[in-house]
């Protein structure tokens, strides 16, 4: 049996969506909400065709979630895959309503046939396989930019009716924040740190590991020591690095829910009873002010 599979793209990060779609027999189509460059980039991937929705210049993409969902629903998809980006989740919500099918979230992989989604729930402590028809899945990790093919497939453009509810007031560029969602290694710091100036210690460790710096919500929210974009946890980012090293973080569920998909979790904490020692792969029970510099120097030593 073959299935009519659709990928919803709001940026070029679809490599893992393509890989998941490739497990399903049948043609794969991409619906793109974005500019011409994006549509053309995604046309040079391993898909049957591209359905392109171009938001009117200066408009706000969120307003068009309904129109995109309507057009995709009219093409009677059996499987729809998308990522966790804001605009993607809004389109997925609309599709759930249009197709009268459940929105399956935190999906890790897809198997066919028949199409089945593997997803995590209860903060990652339960893995379920579920099915629905049509199968509408939000994958946690949409992947990076796809590999370009030599030939481009057809792009069908759908003209969007200008929205009337949301209008752009201003867009002020800011320094592109670190993208934790694609980071391979992350060093996160929590309330165990005594002073903001001690962040340097953590940054040194991150540099030694080639990692990005992140933090717990209290550190950003209550203390304002880190940009709020760098919060990991249920109210922040849910990330999936190969290595997650938590410094002075106790390991409350609200934080750990953000790293259930990390491959290796390492904890440094001076409290042997800290919850995090029950949720990590490696740990050092000790004073971070002594352990972190020791780690930086150990990482600089040659391999045995």
């Amino acid at each position: 049996m073959t299935f009519n599979t659709w990928i919803i793209a709001v940026d070029n990060r679809i490599a893992d969506l393509l890989a998941a779609a490739a497990t399903v027999p049948g043609e794969v189509h991409v619906a793109v909400l974005g500019d011409r460059d994006l549509a053309e980039e995604l046309a040079r991937t391993d898909v049957a065709d591209v359905l392109w929705f171009e938001p009117p210049a200066g408009s706000v993409v969120e307003e068009y979630a309904g129109q995109v969902a309507e057009a995709v629903a009219a093409r009677k998809p059996d499987v729809v895959l998308t990522g966790p980006q804001d605009a993607a989740r809004l389109i997925a919500g609309r599709l759930a309503a249009q197709l009268r099918t459940p929105l399956i979230t935190s999906v890790q992989s897809i198997e066919a046939d028949p199409p089945v989604a593997t997803r995590l729930t209860v903060s990652g402590s339960v893995e379920q396989t579920v099915s629905a028809s049509p199968l509408l899945a939000v994958l946690d990790s949409p992947g990076g930019a796809p590999e370009a093919t030599d030939a481009a497939v057809t792009i069908d453009q759908i003209v969007l009716a200008p929205g009337t509810t949301i209008s752009m007031v201003s867009a002020v560029p800011r320094a592109a924040g670190a993208d934790l969602s694609t980071a391979d290694r992350v060093v996160a710091v929590g309330r165990g740190l005594a002073a903001k100036t001690d962040l340097g210690l953590v940054r040194d460790l991150a540099t030694a590991l080639g990692a990005q710096v992140a933090g717990s919500l209290p550190l950003a929210e209550d203390l304002g020591w880190l940009d709020k974009d760098l919060c990991v946890g249920i109210s922040g980012k849910q990330i999936s690095p190969a290595l997650y090293l938590a410094v002075g973080i106790s390991g409350q569920m609200q934080h750990m829910a953000g790293v259930t998909r990390a491959q290796k979790v390492v904890a440094i904490n001076n409290d042997p009873e800290a919850l995090i020692f029950g949720k990590c792969d490696y740990g050092i029970v000790g004073d971070l002010y002594a352990v972190v510099p020791a780690l930086v120097s150990a990482l600089g030593e040659p391999r045995a």
Binding site: G93, T105, S106, A298
Partner: protein, 248 residues
């Protein structure tokens, strides 16, 4: 006219008892305000005040009505049902049905964070069910007395948009500083009305996925611990372990 604030009010995932076969039991779980529910009600209160409108709370479960009133909701509509463990689809459908009971509820405000499912899709499902645009991850909501402006941080810009019509706005944890209600707020709240609705009255119907298999995953991490009494040695041991696991 009214500003509606929707509370997700979910069980703490730590309270979900997971059996060895992956079955989830929520019966012992106490539901509580999700982190940014407190932020959502504060944003709704300020927005309603500035627009000269009513702030109406809609809640899943009767218990949280008092909580919402003490934090500034003018009145609350609560559905009298235990929705712990309910799917995001059902939560959103119930909230949408409650929002429809409020006349002139153009603006619906909800917290943006993930609850038990960890997926943060209730706001987008709510917007979809109500058939109106949604804005997720709002880091600021302001009004000039008539129009609402919403600030969001995208990957490379701070974007401010104007909302002119019905919309669902999901606010991030830093959109406002939640109020800690004082004794006076709590006493005042007792005078404000709570309307309780039976779930059956709402006539909601949410599609469910078919569960095929379920298993526990949380036994996955077995910590190998090193004693930091000798920091240099512990650091070397950790680095050696990470290197042999090819993690560094």
């Amino acid at each position: 006219m009214a500003v509606v604030v929707a509370f997700k009010w979910a069980p703490d995932p730590q309270d979900g008892r997971v059996a060895d076969d992956g079955a989830i039991d929520w019966s012992g779980a106490a539901t509580s305000a999700v982190g940014d529910d407190a932020v959502a009600v504060e944003v709704a209160r300020q927005t309603a005040e500035s627009l000269g409108q009513e702030a109406v709370g809609i809640t899943l479960g009767r218990k949280n009505a008092d909580w919402a009133l003490a934090r500034g909701a003018d009145r609350v509509i609560a559905v009298d049902a235990d929705l712990a463990g309910a799917s995001d689809d059902l939560r959103a459908a119930v909230l949408a049905a409650l929002a429809r009971r409020v006349d002139g509820a153009d603006t619906v405000i909800i917290g943006d964070s993930a609850v038990d499912s960890g997926a943060a899709v209730v706001p987008s499902l709510l917007a979809a069910t109500l058939g109106r645009p949604g804005l997720l991850g709002a880091t600021g909501v302001a009004t000039d007395g008539t129009a609402i402006t919403v600030e969001r941080r995208t990957r490379d810009a701070v974007v401010t948009v104007k909302v002119d019509g019905p919309a669902v706005i999901a606010v991030a944890a830093d959109a406002a500083t939640p109020r800690v209600p004082g004794m006076r707020d709590v006493l005042m709240a007792r005078k404000r009305p709570i309307e309780t609705v039976e779930l059956a009255e709402l006539g909601v119907d949410a599609p469910g996925a078919e569960l095929l298999t379920s298993r526990r995953t949380d036994s996955g991490r077995q910590a190998q611990l090193f004693d930091g009494a000798d920091p240099q040695q512990a650091a070397r041991q950790l680095v050696a372990a990470l290197r042999s696991a090819e993690a560094v």
